[in-house]
Symmetry: C2
Subunit: 583 residues, 2 copies
């Protein structure tokens, strides 16, 4: 007997089998490949939580809801989809900034909110977790702004379909959805018949219009004299990463990513050139990129931060762009061409003998790691090299997270081993995000590796200001014994803000914590590895320590750098300009 | 020359004097009695922050925006009004749960958000801190649900009036307001003439209808055989605390508060009986309260938590209630009777010779402290007595905060010295609130005491689960050297949730931190006082230690209690019922 058969029962002879509403919902989550559920208990979701573990799901239990939301986002980016459970009002609103980030950067988070009993809502009772005005719909209205679909479960007859519909939207768009579960519906019987099949996503209709789009793309590609490929981060949400990797490999065309997409492709391929840095890139590379007569672009997400202030974007008239369900060549748009089918069709129709092959491959920048052995041992660690030095510490299968701030910029220049995933600030840029996201990502990595031998490591690069925002999630990392290494950049405040404005203003300072006491405070074993490095020599020793590189659980390193130092690129130029103004 | 004259300048001869927009806004905040401003820097508010300190305001700089919002709420409840500055999107949404709490429980928080330049918004540019959709109005729409007034500054000609209008709403309603300041308007010149006078709040119109309301109230009070007074927490927002205190003292009528109002009245008065606990109160008291033929009620806020599950409410037909601008007797309502004028009129018109005086005063419960010397020294500390024991530690002028959880219930039974202010969970009940609120309250206390000799102490009672939500604000307490004592109730998880449901479910556990390492981790001096107590004997020693009671800055005590223990009242009954179910 399957687990599903175990669950269902017939209320009356002749009636269809039923399960409890919570069982229905959680069975669906399991079927979607979710193993762990993030969130925080609250009195309107407690009975719902009773069904989490029995459904075969693992309950995380975060320190607060914003962090739980960030962690769920991180989990979704590795696992494809995640779930978050909060309580009405206080819980869901604490998480709303994380949900907005998941919307902005396309992480599929199923946000489930336990709400007051229907009778309480309908009676407009003045209960806690409300604005004391009898209005129970405000929070759902707020959540609608940052989710792609919402549903309020009110009638057991329609609950299964409602749940399936929002879950499908979550997957189709890779954006968060919102489900309200009144506490009195948690154990209501609902029909279980839909559970016998996994949730089916609608496939796109493919016809003449779609074929003509692909033909136009193929024609344009065949005519191209200097074609290049630009991969942006929505490629992940579109589910076309492998196909795009294959196209890049088979055409041999010079391929760049944006920051958002870095870590999706194999960086050891000879035609891979890292992130195109716009006006901050090396001259040869800029010329070649801008001179390309065709740019084949996947999953565009052209926000300011992701495009070096709009300077790294291809010229629209030369660009073929493949989005969710559109193909665009210059100003011409074909709608309703689903990306996955489009790329599959393109791979079939593109004849490699008919396209430009770079027999003499152009000279283009490739990112290089920098050995710590080549650094001046007695000198203090500097932003110009630290990121490329940290590259040497990475291994295949690692997850790397570079928090908004100097790490977010620095990680852009780090070459990555194959199968390394990278989290980089793209558009939402909510500082504090990466630490809980590291918890979520590490857990997803372990959940996915459950059948394999050993999960990789999760490595977080985070500044002191960001660290303070969400530090308590270290307790969750410890509780679940996650394999996480934290490099804390201690540069005495918000250096990224100093670069932008107010370089020496007190408002860019932060409280001075004793950062390396974090593991002990948050409950790690007394012998947890911690170390501090101010000079390159000290860093060399730390990076060479097996307890750091091959240990288990949490490890933490503090890297001390000057507060007015920034990595090459936009930040360096900004702080230079500020220093010049002061002279 | 006054400071204002210093600021203003004439753009052209003959034109009115101008100031920069930021100067206008901050001058108004200073005039309203705000001394310190809470918030977090972000790139859309940095130039705005340049004007904070020059305006004579003190910048707090919190660890994250939710905490900053909680702290601003705490500051407002002590100071009357507060200000919070965040950045567009990421910052303001992180704070929105705190703003909702301020709305629900009526704290006057001016939330100022630095937004992208007007050209960026109008051009629908895809910049960071957006959903990458060119829509810049979503977040303001979300904030409108939890603020009483909102304004988007777009035109320097109308900015002063717009600012004044929302500030007036903030004060009138004692609820949060929302001001959007585009970064390119920060230094725009605006007319300064309105600044020459303080902001004027409109007084209510007083006429026949209002007089008839007061006459009806007086008549009802004169007829009363068994009148009592019930003071609820909106009394503070209405600005009638002193007048209500005076009425209670002069009538001598038995007076109770709700939890929300506790700490507003002088508890040493002989006719003060603490919080009326509804069906959990002592029998005599219940009988007398329910038998009252007239209940004179001020500032009603009858939410479930604030009314012991609706059991402590007076019968509507016997109740005279004085709200914002309504007077209600039974089902009859007089509108547009502003509370402050109403109470002033009532005090003039109520002839003390014509009303019931309790010559033989009834036997009614009064809260009693419990001496630690009367506890069994070797026994572990228990919820039945701890709160009344901690009462003995309080002093006149202290601020006491009891976080949602067992402390929030326990503090209800603590008798308070005069001029002690209390924060108690009322309706919003967002766990994690009280720790940052303690930072805000302590700072307001110090700001207000600046002219006096010495500010009182701020004492926080907080459970471990709540503590984990917002612990980083301890860093802010330390940075500003605030006079705060934290009693951390370590009972291994969310005991309040255990009472409600899932007593032994793992989801009610939390990570196990080493709580007393907090001061060191967050940067306090090495000799900061910390102590732990598991037995009454240990607690006696701790409470008697002068370093704790008379020290300066942060001090912290961990009190260990059983996880299935709860204070008498609703929580105790709930957990008893759960234990019974398990047997």
């Amino acid at each position: 007997m399957t687990r599903l058969q175990n669950l269902t029962n017939r209320a009356c002879p002749g009636m269809s089998p039923t399960v409890k509403l919570a069982e229905y919902l959680f069975t669906r989550l399991v079927q979607l490949g979710i193993t762990s559920v993030h969130g925080v208990p609250g009195d309107f979701n407690l009975t719902l939580l009773d069904y989490v573990e029995p459904a075969g799901l693992h309950w995380v239990g975060n320190a607060n809801e914003l962090n739980a939301g960030y962690a769920a986002d991180g989990y979704a980016r590795i696992n494809g989809i995640s779930a978050l459970i909060t309580t009405f009002g206080v819980g869901e609103l604490s998480a709303i900034n994380a949900i907005a980030g998941a919307y902005s950067e396309r992480a599929a988070v199923v946000h489930i909110v336990g709400t007051p009993p229907r009778a309480t809502q309908d009676g407009r009772l003045l209960v806690h977790h409300t604005l004391n005005d009898g209005n129970f719909s405000r929070f759902a209205q707020m959540q609608a702004h940052v989710t792609i679909a919402q549903t309020s479960l009110r009638d057991p007859r329609t609950c299964p379909e409602q749940i399936d519909q929002v879950l499908a939207q979550c997957l189709l768009h890779s954006r968060p959805v919102y489900i309200e579960v009144p506490v009195d519906l948690v154990d209501a019987p609902v029909l279980s018949d839909r559970l016998s099949a996994k949730l089916q996503l609608p496939e796109g209709i493919w016809g003449t219009s779609q074929n003509s789009a692909i033909e136009a793309v193929v024609e344009k590609l065949q005519e191209a004299k200097q074609p290049i490929i630009l991969v942006d981060g929505e490629t992940r949400a579109l589910g076309i990463v492998d196909a795009v990797q294959d196209l890049s490999r088979r055409t041999g065309w010079p391929t760049w990513t944006t920051g958002f997409a870095k870590g999706l492709l194999d960086e050891t391929e000879s035609n891979f050139h890292g992130i195109f840095r716009g006006k901050w890139d090396e001259e040869n590379t800029q010329t070649f990129f801008y001179d390309a007569d065709v740019v084949l672009c996947f999953g565009p997400h052209f926000s300011s931060t992701n495009s070096f202030g709009f300077t790294s974007l291809p010229r629209p008239e030369n660009t073929i762009s493949v989005s969710d369900s559109d193909i665009k060549i210059g100003t011409k748009i074909w709608r309703d061409v689903p990306a996955r089918q489009a790329v599959a069709s393109l791979r079939r129709k593109l004849n490699l003998d008919m396209i430009q092959r770079y027999v003499e491959y152009p000279k283009l920048r490739r990112d290089q790691a920098f050995s710590v052995q080549d650094t001046p041992k007695e000198k203090i660690i500097t932003q110009d090299k630290i990121w490329r030095v940290l590259s040497t510490f990475l291994r295949e299968g690692d997850i790397l997270l570079g928090e908004t701030g100097t790490p977010g910029y620095g990680t852009r220049e780090m070459p990555l081993p194959p199968r390394t995933r990278l989290f980089i600030p793209t558009t939402w840029l909510s500082i504090g995000y990466m630490l809980p996201a590291a918890q979520g990502a590490a857990l997803a990595q372990r959940d996915l590796a459950a059948s394999a031998q050993q999960p990789g490591r999760t490595i977080l690069l985070v500044g002191d200001g960001s660290f303070q925002m969400t530090a308590q999630e270290i307790g969750t990392m410890i509780k679940h014994n996650l394999n996480i290494i934290i490099f804390l950049i201690n540069n005495d405040g918000y250096t990224i803000e100093r670069c932008i404005h107010g370089m020496r203003q007190a408002y860019n300072d932060v409280s001075r914590w004793r950062y390396l006491e974090a593991p002990s405070f948050f409950g790690a074993q007394r012998d947890t590895y911690t170390a501090s490095a101010t000079t390159w020599g000290e860093l060399e020793k730390v990076l060479g320590d097996k307890r750091l590189s091959d240990g288990q659980g949490l490890r933490m390193v503090e890297i001390v750098m000057d507060k007015e130092d920034a990595p090459a690129g936009p930040l360096k130029d900004l702080i230079k300009a500020q220093k010049a103004k002061r002279l």
